[in-house]
Amino acid sequence: MARQTKKSKSKLWFLVHSWLALPIWFFVLIVCFTGMLAVVSQEIVWLANPDVRASQPDDNAERLSFQQVLSALNKAEPDMAVRFISQPDGSHFALEAAVTYPDGTSPTLYVNPYTGAIQGKTPDFNFQAFTRALHGWWLVPFTNGYSWGWYLVSLLGLPMLASLVTGLVVYKKFWRGFFKPVRTQHGSRIFWGDLHRLAGVWSIWFIAVISITGTWFLIQAILGDNHVTISTEPIVPVIAREQVPQSPDGNPVPRIDLDEAARIAQEAIPGLDISFITLPATAYSHISMGGRGWYPLMFQTAEVNPYTRNVDSQFLLGDRSTLEFVTESMRPLHTGDFGGLPIKLIWFFFGLVLTLMVLSGLLIWTKRTAQATAAALKRSERPARVRRHEDTPVEAQP
């Protein structure tokens, strides 16, 4: 009796597992596929566009400091305003500088980190941003809070998590499946089934990471749209009026340069890595900068007052609550952009495997159903004559 219920229960789990992604298989497939592309989109752009590469003019050339880069940009384009300079993760990438030209156009420029030369600007079709928008929110615009496309995609975290759990429940002794060979001689149904199981056991950790972090994106949107915040990040007020000097002749008061600001921040915060720097956006704004801390999934930032030379505000790893350590780690865990190329390649590979899991799951389902449907149709077409043969199964199910 107990055995019977156990059996029927596992049959039920199996049914749940088969139905989880099926009615939306194509949507899941495209989300997995675009996610896989988004992980390496920066590298794809690097391969396709020489402007994005940080080519060293000669072996002895050294990388410029932020202020040297800014000076080079100002010299090349005296009328252009620079708003932001950043070194993407990986020294083979060119610097990115967000600028505004006098005509109001505001592109991001690719700048050589050794010479400060402007190598190009982001093209009108930004592959990196596009794949991320397609994967992240199905291109549905954000008009009021989170876009409904964001909800649509992040909701998939739940069936994915359920697929993992039910898959492990129905796969008896799955821990023995890591080195089971895929049978190729027994028809495609068996082949895809074996592949689905083999890929599944090797991706347990990855599916768990992606579905949990994906579900976090759903929670994040719900929290955000209900104006609930768990952040302990200080809200940096503008610089007080008294601290910003006036000049009787009407000329702008000089501010400290970027390297001086970086030096002050690094002196106040030992070990602060600076990979991006934002120039003051108003006369009452700070020079803000930041980079990764020892824990590579999170960033540390500092705001330097360009008039008083004070570090007015900082947000370091130690300032985070335990909850923030978890929630802030979710995004990098999902995107795999916290450990350079090796991590990205691992994420890309398992993204591909996950895409194939959806595809093989669908193939298994259609093969099984197609056979069952064909059999059912055959029976209904010739009800009188074949009734006797009906006991013999038309299809052999593994």
Partner: protein
């Protein structure tokens, strides 16, 4: 389940077609990103500044010795931001030859009495700045929005534009609010 159905009903072409294809209709979900693609590229171009300053551009507003263009980012009603109220994003650009001497530029509904209450400060380069202006729901539809330029010498220079000219959609929204 499908078995019993096919046995009781004669397998019409339509039925067969439905059974075969019903789980592939989700391919139609691809129409969502396809449909939003023009909007996506229009927005990308708007944020890059390639499609101008914004909607309903008021050109060459003279504020003392400066000239300035003002535009709303989008031709639409103010957006709600939870308990903080409703906001409207405006962009502005100083004329290319007159960026000198302007320390800060502010925007406010109604005339500010001093620099401390000058309103929302514009962020960004003088060629393209933006600010998020709070719109109290009780604002009169015939209100003026005031631009205040603060000089580096501490001087204050002002000009105003009718809200109806800078953002007709906001005025339409305010009129609707007043009806409630």
């Amino acid at each position: 389940m499908s078995q019993t159905q096919t046995q009781t009903l004669p397998p019409s072409g339509l039925k067969q077609w439905w059974l075969k294809w019903r789980f592939h209709f989700n391919i139609l979900l691809i129409l969502i990103p396809l449909g939003f693609m023009p909007r996506y590229f229009a927005d990308a171009s708007l944020f890059r500044g390639d499609s101008g300053l914004g909607a309903n551009v008021v050109k060459d507003i003279q504020v003392d010795r400066w000239r300035l263009d003002l535009a709303e980012l989008r031709d639409e009603a103010p957006r709600a931001d939870g308990p903080a109220g409703h906001f409207k994003v405006f962009n502005a650009a100083l004329c290319q030859t007159c960026t000198e001497g302007a320390k800060a530029i502010y925007l406010r509904i109604g005339k500010p009495r001093n620099l401390r209450a000058a309103g929302s400060i514009f962020f960004g380069s003088p060629y393209r700045m933006s600010t998020s202006l709070p719109i109290p729901p009780r604002t009169r539809p015939d209100a003026e929005i005031w631009i205040t330029i603060e000089g580096w010498d501490g001087s204050m220079h002002q000009a105003s534009v009718p809200l109806a000219k800078a953002s007709p959609a906001t005025v339409a929204w305010l009129e609707k609010q007043g009806g409630k």
